[in-house]
């Protein structure tokens, strides 16, 4: 068997899965977006009507704006993960333990995390408001006020991802920097700001870009679980994300074509990022 054939044989199972579970459903979704289908009556072809309605739908606009606002946590996630990686990159037992502690939330089910945060933000008996009461601060109704609900969701999104896989990528990246560079920096007495600019940044630039791209893609595609479990997309739709809107349209309100159109527009929103990711992905 030639190397090419052997390689193809190894790739085939994964490739088949991608074709059947990603590419074909994605194509079906694009086709479905041209139909009106309630699941209980035969689909009827409506051309681009779903897109026209969608682009004039204030609910879609609000969900898109909410998603973009929530995605603003991504740079903070990346910066925080980088800072944590810098702090935890040493290999002492203490740092190893800390790394594990920081990484733990990534291993916990998001369902449990969001329900826990929901009770922390609860207005009457929540931990946060009790603490604020103790120090004499007037506590907001976090999940009941459209203004504060979004901030509460952003805090949770930041908290759950800051010590996660992005930090691991950075830790791995930091290990690639030759130790001599650090020695030279120490000898020259370079302050942290200069070390970041002259040593870390050149080595980590592509990884930062990669993490930012992945983060934004995840933020635009995601946000379903947190909306479903923590806020119900409210109050007043202030935390409805595109993925939650897609779920509601397709699986709650049985507007399959409309929901599919939301999915296609989400893909169009992330496609420039996909291209960027492709270009900026670390090569070694």
């Amino acid at each position: 068997m030639t190397d090419t054939r052997r390689g193809l044989a190894f790739v085939a199972p994964l490739f088949t899965g991608v074709v059947f579970f990603c590419l074909i459903p994605a194509a079906a979704c694009a086709v479905l977006s041209l139909f009106r289908w309630s699941l209980t009556s035969p689909p009827s072809f409506v051309g681009l009507e779903n897109y026209r309605t969608l682009l004039g739908d204030p609910l879609f606009l609000q969900a898109a704006i909410n998603t973009l606002i929530l995605s603003l946590v991504v740079p903070l996630q990346v910066a925080g993960s980088f800072a944590l990686a810098l702090f935890l990159r040493r290999t002492t037992p203490w740092h190893r333990l800390l790394r594990l502690v920081v990484f733990l939330p990534t291993l916990v089910s998001p369902v449990a995390l969001y329900i826990m945060w929901r009770s922390i933000f609860f207005a009457d008996m929540g931990l946060l408001n009790r603490l604020l009461d103790l120090v004499g601060v007037a506590a907001p109704l976090w999940l009941e006020d459209p203004g504060w609900a979004k901030a509460a969701v952003m805090v949770v999104l930041l908290w759950e991802s800051i010590g996660g896989f992005q930090m691991l990528f950075f830790l791995a990246g930091l290990r690639q920097i030759p130790e001599q560079l650090h020695d030279m920096a120490r000898l020259d007495g370079l302050p942290l700001r200069r070390r970041i600019r002259d040593i870390y940044w050149p080595w980590m630039r592509s990884l930062v870009g990669f993490n930012l791209c992945l983060g934004f893609i995840g933020a635009i595609q995601g946000g379903f679980e947190i909306a479903f479990l923590m806020t119900g997309g409210g109050p007043l739709r202030s935390t409805t994300t595109l993925s939650y809107l897609l779920y509601e349209n397709a699986f709650q309100w049985q507007k399959m074509g409309y929901g599919a159109a939301v999915g296609v527009l989400m893909f169009l929103m992330i496609s420039p990022l996909l291209a960027l990711k492709w270009k900026g992905a670390p090569r070694d």
Partner: protein, 410 residues
Amino acid sequence: MPIKKVLMLLCLLAIMAGCRPAPDGTVTLVWATNSHPSRIDAARWFEKQHPGVRVEIMPMGDSRQFFLKCLYGDAPDVITFFSADTFQAFAENGLLRPLSGPSRSAWPYYDALQDYCFKGHTDELMALPQVAYPYVLYVNPELVPQEKAMAVQSWRDLLGLVRTLSPAVTDTGKPVFGLDIQSESVWFTTWYWQRGGRFFSPEGNSVLDRDIARETLAAMERWRRLPGVIPRPSDRLNLPSSGASQGVLGSLFLQGRALFYWSGSWKIADFEAQDRVPWQVRMLPTGPVNGLTVMGGNSFGVSCRSTHPELAKQFVAALAGKAAQKRHLAHRIYLPARKGIPIPQSLAVLKEQAKAARCPEHSALLNEALVKEIFKQALEAHRLGVANDEEAAEMLASALEAGAVEVPRD
């Protein structure tokens, strides 16, 4: 050759996996329902009466998802319906077998349950009911003197009484509210009906009366503005999530923090399971025009894909029969759907309430989940002050006409 041995072993395993135990003559009926002890009890009771039959309970989860699963995949033999809209969706899509039973005119059950059993506006019986859930008013007799609670007939009486008893506090110094309400939507629906309004025509089109809706919203707002009468959602333990259970902890009444609680009769189970807060049940007050209130219920239908349809029909008939309904009372929760079954004297008021109740309105043109969301958004916008009475009524009317959720504009 090792490869041959491996292949033979795999073949052997595949053959063994395909083998089934020899049939023992047992017939299995699959019943989609919730996992309440009363269901398990009913299943075991039927099994005892029918040796050789096993009733397997299948959890249903979200009703909309379950409907789609039955439409496109496998369906159980017997299906429980917890909302009239879900039942109608099954009946309209040909997923149920017609049942033989009483016609509408000879209906031995509470009238409000007809929408849970008869397909559309025809006389075709497709399901039989077991239980009625009228909304009632719970009273804390430690906080409200009984004679005063008994004297309440109208909402004006109730408000007057609440104001004479307020402000009250618990032993721990927490405020006691006048009236906790399980759902804004039930509040709005009841008051709107009691002013003579309707939401949908028999054809399913929206016939929302904007004037009555506005008047209802204005009345709700007047009650909300009175301090200590209506708790805010943040005063309760439940939060606006759609994914997690809203559970019994959400009731202020069970914490001794509400004089009255307006909720469904299924709450009786929670109240009976605790001994902290005393409680009584009263009829809901009547409105300016009539005394119509909301009633829920459940019913059982036989799937058209059932492999044992006759046995499934027997099971449904047994569940809805007098013996099973009497037995169901042992669980001390629900009002039997069939009229004339004796219930404890302390709960006799449930029967009176059921007579004045009707099923929540639904439209074959609009999806149930969408209608719920339309109500939720309009009422939430009104409660949070983003939309005034006029705007919220308009929001509701246009959303019901367009069949789309309206977003309140700042």
